[in-house]
Subunit: 115 residues, 2 copies
DNA sequence: CGTATACATAACTCAAAGGTTATGTATCAG
DNA sequence: CTGATACATAACCTTTGAGTTATGTATACG
């Protein structure tokens, strides 16, 4: 018997993983930094008042979200941005574009109705 | 003396709140449902195999993220989509658009450089 | 070889997130 | 006033997340 009931451990869907990864200012700052070129973990850690293992964890979160890839160069691990999941997130958001670009229109309609 | 050391309780920045709110499939589904018009909490809860208080909590998360507003109509609480925070999120994401739409270009440049 | 550097992993703490059941509150309907 | 409906809140539990310190591992260097 395999392990009895196991809460199924279902990993969240990709979009949830992406948004969760983005829901942290440190990780967003890391991505911003990587948008101007590759960097090692140490270089990425430098700006933050945080321990090295903390950054290491953040990088792992970003990696599991597919937002970065890591290579190996001597004892450095160069990190590289992969924006593919950001594109997915953007596609999801775009479906709501009408609701913000149209907000003035809807406000106008509301005013019109009130008259 | 007020409470000694208090971890400062700093509320997260708006973008983090927005992304965190979006990092849950139930909440994204609720937003999708609201994109086709207002709905009461009960109507929003119907599709989910989840208790009523659970939905109530999700709605509170969405409300605190500014993604919905709630009115009052008899004993119903009509929910309405407010996409403003989505626009903010979109603006953040757009800064990375070059990294996905331009990926083929950058690959070509890389190949060119390698020659 | 031994040592320094760069990073990963382990073990732990604390708080927050997501769910539950039970109960409270506001509003309508009779 | 009474009861039903729609929702919110409280109290609780379990899992996950973000941080810490301490330790392990891989690579360069003398």
């Amino acid at each position: 018997m395999p392990a009895v009931t196991q809460k199924s451990a279902a990993r969240p869907d990709p979009l949830s993983i992406t948004f969760a990864a983005l829901a942290d200012p440190t990780r967003r700052a890391i991505l911003a930094r990587l948008s101007s070129g590759e960097a090692s973990a140490g270089e990425l850690a430098a700006p933050f008042a945080m321990s090295q293992p903390a950054i290491s964890k953040h990088l792992k979160v970003l990696e599991r979200a597919g937002l970065i890839t890591r290579g190996r160069e001597a004892q450095w691990r160069p990190c590289k941005l992969d924006a593919t999941p950001l594109q997915q997130a953007n596609e999801w958001l775009e479906r709501y574009a009408a609701f913000w670009s149209g907000s003035l229109d809807r406000l106008a309609a509301f005013v019109e109705e009130k008259k």
